[in-house]
């Protein structure tokens, strides 16, 4: 019974079904419970959050990742599955708090820096980080450095992810790092950057902790930087 429920969570992550309204890849899913409903059912039947997270949501996402690597799945599959995981996480949130693991793998603030409106890549990174089990607060586009740092402080973030697609706006990333330093937060909060004009070299130059060339690199970098768990 419990195993079956967990299996259905995995299946629905693969199908990318957030809730009962979603269709999934095959036609005949509509109306059946999606990840949100199934996670609720699992919680109600007393399955602990750790099992739901590891054996259900993460296991599903891992399978999706493997399928991507073998070429069976593509980015839309990853995104859709990540959204389903996120829907499950939302249901879990109130229950996680009590168990002292409210931030999952860690809290991340994501933003596109000031004067930059590009957000397709940044959204991809946000959704995938959520799918990988991070708690992501996405501030959107054209976000001033001060606002990013303020949010990071308020949310007690472990990591700030910055995106820029213009070589005229990438310099604003450095402002965020300086602002973190000014506020004495830099040693507590890691910074990763990304976006077409940025690079490893640029990350070094401005003193960021890592550069990610795509959403997968973003997940790897985040996991590496935050390994050792939440402080």
């Amino acid at each position: 019974m419990k195993d079956e429920l967990i299996e259905r969570i995995v299946e629905n992550v693969l199908q990318g079904r957030r809730n009962k309204e979603d269709e999934g890849i095959e036609e005949d899913y509509a109306g059946e419970p999606g990840v949100a409903e199934l996670v609720q059912e699992a919680l109600d039947s007393g399955i602990d959050t750790n099992t739901i997270l590891l054996k259900g949501l993460s296991a599903g996402m891992e399978q999706v990742g493997q399928k991507y690597e073998t070429g069976e799945y593509f980015i839309p599959d990853m995104l859709t599955a990540a959204e389903a995981v996120e829907a499950g996480m939302k249901v879990m949130e109130p229950h996680l708090a009590g168990e002292g693991a409210s931030e999952g793998k860690g809290k991340v603030i994501m933003a596109t820096v000031e004067k930059d409106l590009h957000d397709i890549g940044k959204n991809l990174v946000s959704i995938m980080l959520k799918g990988a089990g991070f708690n992501v607060v996405d501030l959107g586009i054209d976000v001033p450095a001060a606002r990013i740092v303020e949010a990071a402080e308020e949310e007690k973030a472990d990591l700030v992810g910055l995106s820029a697609l213009l070589n005229t706006t990438m310099v604003n990333m450095e402002d965020v790092i300086k602002e973190l330093e000014n506020k004495g937060l830099r040693d507590k909060i890691k910074v990763i950057i990304g976006g077409a004009p940025t690079s490893d070299d640029f990350a070094d130059e401005i003193g960021a902790d890592a550069y990610g060339k795509d959403a997968f690199a973003a997940i790897r970098a985040a996991e590496q930087l935050l390994s050792g768990g939440k402080k």
Binding site: G16, D22, I25, F74, P76, D77, E83, I127
Partner: protein
């Protein structure tokens, strides 16, 4: 019902109705005056009986007849010629069903090239800095039975190839005119489960080839219902001359009730006028002549209007395929065939280029994108053909398969319907109210339904080199590993017992 080929929703009409009628009129006038020059006595007798005016003459060493074909004889033939013709196949799911009143386009290979050109990757080191890099080196060999078998096997594995015309000429030492046809048809039929279409070199082997096809189909009636092999006859020597030997084959095939393509290939600038009207009027008259002889021999016999009009190259008078005039000619012919309601055999995708590469890709993509818009039933010459039909390259065929996949995709239906519009409104509303306003979820749905084109599968990894040819070579080698789909053992046994001249080395069950 066969689903091979692709429906072209609204065939492109280059010519207005009035222009089609002008060409029709001109062709009919040409058939009356000057008429055709026919070297085949039986054809002349049939034509005369049907109402043509005949005048005997001598052309060099040969008897010949000027035949003036009146319009009513042509009309009569077009009335009896069927608008639906099926090319059969060893696997009946691979049948090609043609209907001149539909607009389904099928792509196939052809035609006998002298050379097989294969890629051999080789590592070179730079004279400048010693850096090593792999480049595709081309190896050219004379065609033989083994290459022919390999090309048929490859064709079986190219999902966008709908029918097979042998694409390698066999020049083995043990092949003579007396055993060539049986061996090339066997090598083809033994390696492909799609329709095989081909010419006969030696009239005496026609019966044997048909006998072989009968054994495969399971009897004479079965063969007529599922003609696992159909024929091509180049009955016309342009301009407007009927060749005796081929006319003989055409008549024999018609009487057997097997499908036959009337193929005529004038060259604009040498054996036909180079302007569109002149070329099309003549090639159309030639195709009609073939249809008339075929229908006189056996009214109602399955026949295909085959026009292969080509333009001359101005510097050496060789054929030239990758040019806009070639498309004009072929699109106009497709329109003429549709006007007559006879299935059409057309041409696209020959590279004038000698080797695969940029030139070949440009020429091929140009013609096999353009010509199918006019919706001929068959597009031959579309796979691997280079050097103005002199050379077959398997790697090029693999690329053509992909490009033709793009062309087929291009003609997919738009999906614009009232119901779909309701869905669109719903999706946009949903997305506008979601956090990231992304349509990836809906793209996924299309992707899984096969609604999204795969993109270019032969992209290399290098930043400083086009590696497409190397990738094509890898893919070709993979496809060569696919299990052959030979004829069953009992069928082979029976064919080898009953067909004189077959080389034992072609028998896949010989030990």
């Amino acid at each position: 019902m066969s689903q091979r080929g692709v429906i072209v929703g609204k065939p492109y009409e280059r010519l207005s109705r009035e222009q089609v009628e002008i060409i029709n009129r001109t062709s009919l006038d040409l058939l009356e005056n000057p008429g055709i020059l026919c070297y085949h006595e039986e054809s002349v007798t049939m034509l005369e009986k049907a109402g043509a005016k005949v005048k005997a003459t001598r052309e060099g060493e040969h008897d010949a007849w000027w035949v003036s074909i009146p319009e009513k004889v042509v009309r009569q033939a077009l009335d009896t010629a069927p608008s639906k013709v099926t090319l059969g196949a060893r696997n009946p799911e691979n049948k090609v069903v043609m209907d001149a009143e539909e607009s389904r386009v099928h792509f196939g290979s052809g035609s006998e090239t002298n050379y097989w050109l294969e890629i051999e990757p080789e590592t070179f080191s730079s004279k400048k800095d010693g850096r090593e890099q792999v480049f595709p080196v081309m190896k050219k060999s004379r065609g033989n039975l083994s290459f022919l078998s390999r090309s048929a096997h490859l064709a079986n594995n190219l999902e966008n190839l709908d029918f097979f015309i042998r694409n390698v000429n066999v020049q083995d030492e043990d092949i003579t005119t007396d055993n060539k046809d049986v061996n090339v048809f066997f090598a083809s039929l033994n390696n492909i489960t799609k329709p095989v279409v081909g010419g006969i070199a030696d009239f005496n082997q026609l019966e044997q080839v048909v006998g072989m096809a009968e054994i495969i189909a399971g009897g004479r009636d079965e063969l007529v219902n599922n003609p696992v092999t159909s024929f091509i006859t180049s009955v016309i020597k342009s301009p407007l001359q009927v060749v005796a030997e081929t006319a003989e084959k055409l008549i024999a095939i018609a009487r057997m009730g097997l499908p036959v393509v009337i193929s005529t290939s004038p060259q604009g600038g040498s054996t036909a006028p180079i302007d569109e009207l002149g070329m099309v009027a003549q090639v159309n008259a030639e195709a009609l002549t073939g249809i008339v002889i075929n229908q006189l021999a056996n009214p109602g016999a399955p026949v295909i209007y085959g026009a292969v009009p080509v333009r001359a190259r101005m510097d050496d008078l060789h054929d030239m395929y990758g040019v806009p005039e070639f498309c004009h000619y072929n699109m106009a012919c497709a329109q003429m065939a549709r006007y007559y309601k006879v299935p059409c055999y057309s041409t696209a995708g020959v590279g004038d280029a000698k080797v695969p590469g940029v030139q070949a890709a440009v020429e091929k993509m140009f013609t096999y994108t353009a010509v199918p818009f006019a919706a001929p039933d068959l597009v031959h010459y579309a796979f691997g053909l280079l050097d103005k039909t002199q050379t077959f390259s398997p790697e090029q065929a693999v690329l053509d398969n992909h490009q033709i996949g793009m062309v087929k995709f291009l003609h997919r239906e738009s999906g614009v319907t009232t119901e779909a519009a309701d869905k669109t409104r719903k999706v946009v509303e949903e997305v506008m109210n979601s956090p990231y306003r992304m349509y990836a979820r809906y793209a996924r749905k299309m992707l899984r339904k096969g609604g999204i084109f795969e993109g270019f599968p032969f992209e290399g990894e290098a930043d400083d080199q086009d590696q497409t040819l190397l990738k094509l070579h890898e893919r070709f080698k993979q496809l060569e590993e696919e299990k052959p789909q030979h004829l069953p053992e009992d069928v082979c046994k029976s064919i080898f017992e009953k067909t004189p001249g077959l080389l034992p080395r072609l028998n896949p069950y010989a030990n």
